[in-house]
Structure formats: structure tokens, C-alpha cells
Symmetry: C2
Subunit: 477 residues, 2 copies
Amino acid sequence: MKKISLFFVLAFLIIACNEKKETKTTSTELTAEEKTDAANIKKIFDTALLHGKSYNWLKDLTTNIGGRMSGSPEAAMAVKWGERVMKEVGLDSVWLQPAIVPHWVRGEKEVAYFVSNGKKTDMAICALGGSVATPNNGVMAEVIEVKTIKEAQELGEKARGKIIFFNRPFDNTLINTFSAYGGCVDQRVNGAAAVGKHGALAVIVRSMTNNIDNYPHTGTMRYGDIPESQYIPAAAISTLAAENLSKGLKENPNLKVYLKQNCRNLPNEKSYNVIGELRGSENPEKIIVVGGHLDSWDLGDGAHDDGTGIVQSLEVLHIFKKNNIKPKNTIRVVFFMDEEQGGGGARAYAEAAKTTKEIHIGGLESDAGGHTPRGFTIDANKANTATLKSWKKLLAPYGLHDIVRGGSGADISPLKSENVTLVGYRPDSQRYFDYHHAATDTFDKVNKRELELGSASMASMIYLMDKYLYNNTPIKQ
Amino acid sequence: MKKISLFFVLAFLIIACNEKKETKTTSTELTAEEKTDAANIKKIFDTALLHGKSYNWLKDLTTNIGGRMSGSPEAAMAVKWGERVMKEVGLDSVWLQPAIVPHWVRGEKEVAYFVSNGKKTDMAICALGGSVATPNNGVMAEVIEVKTIKEAQELGEKARGKIIFFNRPFDNTLINTFSAYGGCVDQRVNGAAAVGKHGALAVIVRSMTNNIDNYPHTGTMRYGDIPESQYIPAAAISTLAAENLSKGLKENPNLKVYLKQNCRNLPNEKSYNVIGELRGSENPEKIIVVGGHLDSWDLGDGAHDDGTGIVQSLEVLHIFKKNNIKPKNTIRVVFFMDEEQGGGGARAYAEAAKTTKEIHIGGLESDAGGHTPRGFTIDANKANTATLKSWKKLLAPYGLHDIVRGGSGADISPLKSENVTLVGYRPDSQRYFDYHHAATDTFDKVNKRELELGSASMASMIYLMDKYLYNNTPIKQ
């Protein structure tokens, strides 16, 4: 062993040195003002990585409260939790904003299987949020497999008395998994309405994930304009069970599926957005909002969706406090209630802002998971979009290369108007739909550094928006 | 529920559409030839994501063989495994290349604790690779904590009869975790030699990880030029135990540590690199090598280090075959033996290439884990570096933004010369040192899509190198 070559150790050091060199070259291209910004952004990242609180907040929320559906006792606990942690950060003010939210309960665990040639095969399913229950003794019927809403609609009366099985998979060749989700989620949202009107007994929808595994992924569905008498139960089926069922149908088109679910829509509940702010030193009446959503689904603990988003949003203000950054405009953190089941919190926030004539100049939402930072999507006018894109050189050293036009997020998008700059935080998407709305969305799936780098990315974006955005754009609200 | 707002669903679709638009804008800036390349790269990614075999190969290797230290029976099994999977891909030729490797065995599980004021506290430790054992009844001694090799050397005779505790942590403010590793690993490699010559009884080195957890991370160490009589046992301690020990020392500087380890250096063994190739259609005598290392440490299953690297390397050739891409030059995959304990395989490969006057025009190594793609580091002459950087626009749509100068990797760097273009594949580094050389480096830590995107990134780089590199540069070997 003593004659061991050192080249492999040297290789690492060479990599490290070269990387430092590369960063240096980039920073020499900065103006004096940009160098100040680069130094402040470095401080923001250092603070997040050395003194960040987001990981412990998330651990507390996900393990001591866990899943927190709109209207549930856990959601009410989460509101109190949110108020407490915001107060601990020492914000200038913290308050609750009322919002009306749906209250759907899952009830007893669902049961599903298919029977083919006398053989019974269990299927991992779960009711979709907002769905009605099956009759007490369940439904049992033959199955028609379809790939699209159009195909389902064209069944017409053939759907009557049948269970319709929506089985279009994610397009795994799409690099951003949100694009694959966007290409499939219509089955989950609109599938039941499309065939309920033709007398189908239920719908079963392939789970929204890239994986083949045995976890059903819940999520919201809607009945649209069909009369209540045509509402039919809607369930998600794991991708593994979907593959099995599809195979079973090829072998025996007359196999029967049994489905029993016990969910209920209870009367709407009063709930709250949790809000806190640091008052602006120059323009306290101008607001930049940063947030995520406090509610989650019930199967997991709502870690990546969207526990990470809210703790990162609060961390932005914690970092500002810790570094004594005095924002020119008011920076407001919002833990929105009910993103998952209708956006009650988002509506309440936007309506209140309109009523009280609050001036929002920008917003940043984190609702795409807590994975390693990749960039931001911008929903803004041309001038402000160009301004944000010009910050790329300040953000690229932290892996934030994708500064592109795109949507911001469900909770802040109701604030959209010509001079409001809305931004979505975009972490890496590859693992997100492994956990989204499933039992797997738990704290252990979140990496501490990835979470903290996300907080710092968001704090850097808010720092730059606060410094440059207002002066850059006349406010005409 | 029927009045539910659709804005949250629309928000997703808007994001998806905008992302597509953005990609389109970029692709219109490409030349006709670049458009061909972009289309071929798209095919490469589609193939990896839809028909990739790397995930199943990795599952087989890590779960059926597991950890495979140089010289071990498992490493010999891994050689046979490598030969078999290469043959299954249908390469033009597959062979084994002899290499002499060390054979260090861990022996019975290590024991360590500290005793302070009569209270015993267990410590999670493991012997470092290449270390000698303690005496049969272990060592027990007072401890001196240091942060640097220099500080340890300056102890001089004060080290005699003591256990030296190297406790410099990772600098977590460094964004690339390999830079933090590079800044600490000298403690592990050179710590024992620095104090062995002054009569210290043993060294305990803080594990090389960003985390505070209870897993010791092994890795290689060396005794350098000190006489064999001064060799002392070297162990890694988990970061949690290191924090505890440091705290204990502050409370009681005279506490004693007990350490027992049972490792042994056995005589060198004959082992093999596993090699396969697709012969070039135009310049079969010119070689581009792609590889990772087949050996691993023993505590985990060698999943991220470097099971992912070898399955990705073989996948490159599988993708070429599947897409009927006929390389102009010979593309050779190498599963290098013994990267971890001295580079015996890398030396054997480089020496054989020299002896037989093989002409290498390029190389690509994957030995930084199987996480989501970020880019490549380039170790090449100026012209070729510029050429590789010009491919950024073809690679950026896949998240490959960091195309920068830097080292390639321990196994291919011995091939370095003026006209050989060496490249390191660089996935995201945030999670890597959670697993590196520890019991946590298991198959479940690898994400299928991230692994496959890495294979496709590497295949795209090899495709471009094969097409452009040789014509671009006169070979003067």
C-alpha cells in the first residue's frame, strides 16, 4: 500500500481548482454594482447553508402534523404551526387571512380488485379528491380501457354500466416531468365528467407518475357542469396495477373490476392563509409576495408538495433578517391554504388585495418540490422579463441556468397584471412525480442541502426583485 | 366541489406550453448540421429513457454482488458479471485486461468508544482502506484534536502515545460538494503518516460528508515514506460521533478513546479491467474510451460509487447499437478495476495502450455519482476545449449547462497528452457525499430517470466527440 499512486487524489484537487478558476473568470465580467450583488448573493447562500432553519421546520411540520387536507383538523393545526414559526422569525407583523375551503374526507381505506376467469387480483387504488363514494357494497362491472378524454366521450352510450379505465401514461421522453404531467392530468381532472353523463359507473385513472410502482397518487378531480345525479366515483390506480389491469383486459376483455370507496364531500370550512411581512424601508406600500401552499394531500406528509415551498418562503425572510438586509419594498410571505382542492386561499388573497387596493409589484412561488435548484420561470411584461433574464450571470454560479418565460404558480397567478412580475421557482423535476400526491411524499425524501440551496435561490431572486424591479417599471395599477 | 376553479390546472398547462415555446426559439438558432445533431441527440435521450438497460444492470450488480473491494471474491464476481453484460449488448469484441491490485480486508467489525468520568460513549467508526490493525486488545489513549495536517505535524513529540483526532469539517458554503471534499480529504489520506512518525498510537478522521449523521465513511489512506514500524491504525468516525467526541474533549481533555480494528493488507492479487468496443467505421485505429470503475468499497453496495458510472458507460454503446449509430472511431467501454485503492486498473490500461501504441483521441469518465445531469469538465488543449464548449447549445436543453475546464477522472487521466481530449461527466453533487464510501451507498438511492439522463448525456458527448473531434485536431502521438 505504501507505493500507492496519488493521482486519484490529485484528480479531485485539480477538479476543485479548475472549478474555482472558472468562477473567477466569470466574476471579472461583472460591473461594480453587479459585484456588490454577487457578494450579497454569496452571503445569502452562506446563511442558508450554515444557519438555515427550513429543514428543521419541515421536519416538525411533516412528522408532527403530517398530511393536512383543506378543511381537516391537521390543516387547522398547520395554520397554528405556521403562525408560530412566522412569529419566531421575528417578522414585523404576522396575521391570519380567512379563506373558505372545501372539506372532503377519504373515509375508510378503499378496496379494489379485478376478477378474471375466477382469479382475483388486488389493485392499489385511492379515491381522487372531490370524488363521491361508491354505493355501500361497492360497484362491480366490466371495464373499458381508453387513453384520452376524446376516446372516452366517443364511447357515448357504450359507457353505460361500465367502469372506464383511463390509462394514458406519462411521456417519459419529456425532460421536464411537469410537461409529462401536463400532458396526462386531464384524465384525472375531467375523466369522470366525460363518462358520468353517459351512465358509466365509475372511472379509474392511471396515477400521475413517471414510475412503474405500486403507489396510487391522489389529486383533485371535478364534475364540471354535469348534474349531481351523474356524479360517479373516481379513483387513481397505481401504475403497476394499471399495467396489470391492462394486461388482464387483453387476455380477457370481459373481466370485472370491483371498487369500493367511502369518501365524502362535507360542507365548506373556514380556514386561513398565514401571512407575515418585513415592511419596506422606502416603499412600504409596495409588496413583493413569496409563498407556497400549506395544505397537502393526506396519503403522505406533504413534504415536497408543498412543505418545502412554505419553509423555503419563510427562510427567505429569515435570511433577510439574519443578514440585516432591509428591503426597499415590503416582502410578504404567504402560506396559502387550499391549493390542492380549489385555490380557496389564493382567491381570498387576491380578492383582499383588490378590495384594499394593495399594490403588488412582484411575486415568487415555490410549488414544484424541494430538489436541487435549476432556475425560475417568469410571467411578466417584456421589460421586466428582460431585466430578470439579465440576472442570469449572478445566478448561474448556483446552478440557476434556466431563467425562462413560463407560469409562476397557482397561488400567485391570480395577482397577474401588466406590471406585476410573477416568478416560479423551478428545482430539478426528475424525482418530483415519484412522490407527488402519494404515500411516498415524506420528509426522508428531502435533501437538506437541496432544500437550503432552494431557499437561497429564492432569497437571491427576491433580493434582486426588491432592488431593481420597482425602479425599472412604472406602477400603473 | 363542482364550482372548483380550474386555474391551478391551467397554470400547469401554461408552464408546459411556455417551456415548449422556449425550446423552439433556441432550436431556430441552429445551423442545418446542428439541427441534425440536435435530432440525433433527441433520439439518444429517447432511447435511454424508453429502452435503457442501465437501471436493471445496476440493480443486478448492487443487489446480487454488492460491495466489491479490489482483490475480493466479490470483485472477481464483478469481473465475470461485467464480461457477461458487455457480451449481452453485442459489442464487436469483449476482453479482460490483467491488472495487479491490492488486497486489503476489513476483518471483524471495528469497536470504538470514549470514556469520560467513568461514562462510556460508543462511537461509529470504520477502518480506512489500507490501514493496519490495532493490537489484538486494541489501543486506549488520550486524544488530541486537530484541524489540519500542519497542526498535527507541529505536535511533534506531543503526539507520542496519543490518538490524534482529525476533525476539520466540510466547508458547506462551497456549492459543489467535490470542492468541500477536496478541501478535507488530505486528513484521511495523509493523517496517519503525519503523526505516525512521532509515535502517535492511531488516528481517527472525521468522515468525508456534508451531513451530520452516524455513518462512518471509509476511503483510502497511505503511509507515504515512513518506515513500516511507524505505521499506525487509521479509522474514519461518523460526523455525529466526531461532534460528540469534540464536545466530550471540551468538557474533559483527558478522556480516553478505545479503538480496535482488525484489518489486514494481504499480498497483491491479479484482477482485470473489463473492456468492450464498437469498431470505428472510418478510423478503427483511433479510440475514444468511456468508462467508470468496477471496484467499490465494502460498507455499501457501490451504487453511486461507481456502479452508476459503469452501467452508464456501457449504456452509451447500447444506445449506439440500438440507434444504429456507426461511430467513425472505435468507441471502447472500460470497467476499470481498483480506482479506490491505488488505480491498478488505470495504470494497466495506460501502460498497455503505450506498449501497443494505441491511439486514443478522447476519453469520458463517469465517477461522480448517478444524480441528475449538470455538465462536463474538459481537460484538453485550447482548440478542443473551445470545440466542446461550442456544443453547449445542443446540450443545454437537457440540463447540461456546466461545460467548463476541469479534470476528467482518476481512471482516464493517465491517458493525458496534448491531443487527447479527456472529459468528466458531472452530475449534480448535492447528495453524493451522503453516500460516498458509506453503508448508505445502495441501489435505492439511485433514481431511474436521473441515471438514464446521465447515460444519454454521456452518449451525446461521445456522439459529438466521435463526429467532430478527430477531424478538428491533427493527431500527433
